[in-house]
């Protein structure tokens, strides 16, 4: 695994795309087939599942290192990463064995079904056989947390360099539900694949944020303007009499959306539709809030109540394949014509067309301003004369999002960050006023500069009222503007609401705590946008 650990170190220690691509291409041309297949799998998120609980690993590592558990925990809080902490506290390996990556993964997979009495000696032996970055990689594989800063695109490019194959063709090959246990390097990458996997989606086209006035895009008639729906981006694939639903993260989600099954009979075979999954109010024929859809995220099976209360539709905005023909080279104007059949379907079929909006840029600006009322996040602007291009491709697709919602809130608790930020207070709990009482309603840890975090850290140290483990209660004095994307009712929170993507937009040094927003203000927002 030495070579793979070296690759990991190289990828982890540079921000240069060129250096990363070269390092990865080097590995992919040199490593054994089974190892490079695993490398591609790991870098595309096909990680082995967690093999041992974090609690056991901590205990075993502390025991092996001869440390009390509290000292292990203190070390962990400085390092901020369990796999790394374990790698660092263990004594150096007493014997060295350069087994291949795929071999180690086999060992790890075999342990998954064993009990702790079998796992422990196997893991202790591994720790004593691996050093430095190899031990770190092993621990990451063991905890199911292997990640490295390599995008799918970068990996595909490196693979193209290593195999002298076309990048787009490789991107296509790499999609789908394969794992190194179900295929081989030869079959996945090298063999001609006439019976192309029926389920394979196309690489999704992604949009850039619009940072200039839309007028600069030229006449609005050249563009398809539609709502930016607040759901889950998906491709619906119907091929060979079967249907598949893929997320943008290349996750096969068909089982999570059984309510889409009726679509199968109303779409011709050989069709791939790009659209947004939305929880749907069939009576009103409009989307439900995003929170309704959230109940399906992270579940393998969907309870009946969710299917009943928050059924789903696919709101189609593009078609990449129709009646077996790949349409991606065609213009959007042309592709969209193939979607018109959706308007003729019965209303109980869970497929809807995302309608294009007519008007001047000024009309569109007004629609955007009211987008929240339509359960949308803003507008999408797509060039009508452009083909469908996988990945991010500047100039054809723009997202024109609404400005975030904001409230001014008072910091009441602070907690230290992790890793490099372990000695800075970066995670805060915020409250709003309810009469004379402060009601906590959200946490946030991002959005400020390092200098601001340092200033606040000094202030927290000086002004701590109480400590609860890593958390410090502070006097309600500092006010922050909290930006967020949405607000929803929540019975789990004391405030009765929860924010989506909260972050600190700025530190309001100008504002006294008494002038922060009230709970009533938030309830009003909930009423309006929830």
């Amino acid at each position: 695994m030495r070579d793979f650990a070296d690759l990991f170190t190289a990828l982890d220690s540079t921000t240069s795309t060129k250096a990363k691509t070269e390092a990865l291409a080097g590995y992919l041309s040199a490593a054994a087939s089974a190892d490079r297949l695993w490398c591609v799998a790991l870098l595309s998120g096909r990680r082995p599942k967690r093999t041992v609980t974090a609690t056991r690993l901590r205990e075993w590592a502390a025991e092996r290192a001869g440390l009390p558990l509290w000292l292990f925990e203190e070390s962990y809080s400085v390092v901020g990463d369990l796999a790394e902490t374990i790698g660092l506290v263990l004594p150096p390996a007493s014997k060295y064995d350069d087994r291949p990556l795929s071999d180690w993964i086999k060992t790890i997979q075999a342990l998954q079904t064993q009990d702790d009495t079998t796992k422990k000696p196997a893991i202790l032996t591994a720790w004593d056989t691996l050093d430095g970055s190899e031990r770190f990689v092993f621990n990451k594989l063991l905890t199911g947390g292997f990640r490295v800063g390599v995008s799918q695109k970068l990996m595909t490019r490196a693979l193209a360099l290593a195999t002298a194959q076309d990048e787009a063709a490789l991107a296509h090959r790499l999609m789908g539900g394969w794992t190194p246990d179900t295929t081989t390097w030869e079959a996945l990458i090298e063999a001609p694949d006439p019976q192309a996997d029926l389920s394979r989606p196309y690489p999704f086209q992604l949009a850039y944020g619009l940072e200039h006035p839309p007028q600069e895009l030229g006449p609005p008639q050249d563009w398809l303007v539609e709502h930016k729906w607040d759901g889950i981006r998906a491709q619906l694939i119907r091929r060979g009499g079967q249907m598949f639903i893929w997320s943008r993260g290349e996750e096969l989600m068909t089982d999570r959306f059984p309510d889409l099954a009726p679509v199968l009979d109303h779409v011709p075979d050989g069709t791939v539709i790009d659209g947004e999954l939305l929880a749907w109010d069939f009576a009103a024929d409009q989307p439900l809030p995003f929170a309704a859809l959230q109940k399906r995220i992270g579940r393998k099976t969907v309870p009946k109540t969710v299917l009943r209360d928050a059924p789903v539709v696919l709101r189609a905005y593009d078609v990449l394949e129709f009646e077996g023909a790949d349409l991606r080279e065609n213009t959007l104007r042309h592709r969209r014509k193939h979607l018109n059949f959706i308007n003729t379907l019965p209303s109980d079929i869970p497929l809807r067309l995302s309608r294009g909006l007519e008007g001047t840029w000024e009309d569109h600006a007004a629609t955007r301003a009211a987008a929240r009322d339509a359960q949308a996040e803003g507008l999408m602007i797509k060039r009508l004369d452009a083909p469908y291009v996988g990945g991010r491709h500047k100039g054809d697709w723009w997202k024109w999002k609404l400005d975030p919602l904001t409230v001014d809130a008072v910091m009441i608790y602070a907690q230290a960050g992790h890793g490099r930020r372990a000695n800075l207070y970066t995670d805060y709990t915020f409250a709003c006023w309810k009469g004379n009482e402060l009601v906590p309603f959200t946490k946030a840890y991002s959005g400020l500069t390092d200098a601001e975090f340092r200033d606040i850290t000094k202030w927290v140290r000086k002004n701590t009222l109480e400590r609860f483990g890593p958390v410090r209660r502070v006097p309600p004095e500092l006010v922050f503007e909290i930006a967020f994307e949405g607000i929803q009712a929540s019975s789990r929170h004391k405030s009765g609401l929860a924010l989506r993507f909260p972050r600190m937009a700025r530190w309001r040094r100008d504002k006294p705590a008494a002038e922060a927003n009230t709970h009533a203000d938030l309830l009003e927002m909930l009423d309006q946008y929830g």
Binding site: S13, T15, A19, L71, S75, V78, V79, L88, G419
Partner: protein, 338 residues
């Protein structure tokens, strides 16, 4: 009480002197020349000859008496001697004996032989004041010969790729110790002015360093293909470094053990090396003193002293006053990480 804490710093009432005081005093015993230990403004200094030389260079003229290692000197009712700390050339632990009770103030130290500084010698004592900059079990240094091999391999790789190798290391101690481990036959060794100034002081005092060439504003930086440049960490990524053209940068520090720090600095290469003791080094040194009382200072003091307690020592914390600006750069993770 042999030693006690005053607002000016650590004080010995029997001898009426301070050790590494942070505010001006009448008589200061200095462990080593790093600026968090050797501060300006004291009336009289006592230090090893090398420490005196470096202090003169850094702080200007000062009244300093010198003392060699292992020489006993009576100051008031206290008997004082200096012993090698292995931290940087000239660095010392200070032993103070009053009425048969012996305390040792470690200053900064490391237990491994860096090939340049006089190696650390444990001194038996009743009470030991230990630094613990790296007092957590996550810190374990690369063995010296491995380190030298790693740096040499990196330098050769850079040269083969047509790049200048720029190695960031603190100007006093770390830079010279790394230099001493280099083979000058592999290529020219260039230095930043701050590093060369220390080199000169050490060479004048009989320390052998490989030949170096200082980079000035008139230096033709393209005229040294295959060179290794040793510079203070602040020079990494700077306009000064960019003038070398194609180059690779590396940083040598104990903090390079942490992935978060390496990533934050976005350095392709980090060498895990420190002039402070690592975790095994600290524990080994403390045990070798035979001390019953151990006070931790400089670093992860709370955690470290708590752990020493569980090992059966009577451990505590010695609070020191930290000054941000002048502190030993390696003692401050904030500074090196930014």
């Amino acid at each position: 009480m042999v030693l006690t804490l005053k607002p000016q710093g650590l004080y010995c009432p029997a001898g009426d002197f301070f050790i590494d005081p942070w505010r001006p005093v009448d008589r200061a015993l200095i462990t080593h020349a790093h600026s968090d230990h050797a501060r300006p403004g004291h009336k009289r200094y006592l230090a090893t000859p090398l420490t005196k030389a470096v202090m003169r260079h850094r702080l200007g003229d000062l009244t300093c008496q010198t003392i060699n290692y292992a020489t006993k000197q009576k100051i008031g009712d206290a008997t004082v001697s200096y012993h090698p700390a292995g931290h940087v050339p000239g660095s010392a632990q200070i032993r103070v004996e009053v009425g048969g009770e012996v305390w040792v103030v470690s200053g900064d130290y490391k237990t491994t032989d860096d090939g340049l500084s006089t190696p650390f010698e444990p001194v038996r004592c009743h009470g030991f004041i230990t630094e613990c900059t790296f007092g957590l079990p996550i810190f374990r240094w690369t063995p010296e010969d491995q380190l030298r091999a790693d740096i040499t391999a990196w330098w050769q790789r850079c040269a083969a790729e047509g790049k200048i190798a720029i190695l960031g290391a603190y100007a006093l101690g770390k830079a010279q110790r790394l230099m001493a481990g280099l083979n000058p036959d592999l290529g020219p060794i260039l230095t930043h002015g701050a590093v060369e100034a220390t080199n000169q002081v050490l060479r004048e005092h009989g320390i052998t360093l490989p030949d170096t060439c200082v980079v000035t504003k008139d230096t033709d930086r393209k005229a040294y293909p295959g060179a290794l440049v040793i510079a203070p960490p602040a020079a990494l990524g700077s306009a000064w470094a960019r003038k070398f053209g194609p180059r690779a940068e590396a940083f040598a520090s104990g903090w390079m053990a942490l992935r978060g720090v390496r990533r934050r600095r976005a350095l392709s290469t980090g060498f895990i090396v420190s002039d402070h003791a690592d975790w095994p080094g600290l524990l080994e040194a403390i045990q070798a003193t035979g001390a019953e009382k151990v006070l931790a200072t400089h670093g992860y003091t709370a955690t470290f002293s708590k752990y020493l307690d569980t090992l059966g020592y009577d451990a505590g914390i010695l609070e020191t006053e930290f000054t941000g600006e002048d502190a030993d750069p390696e003692a401050d993770p904030e500074k090196i990480a930014s």
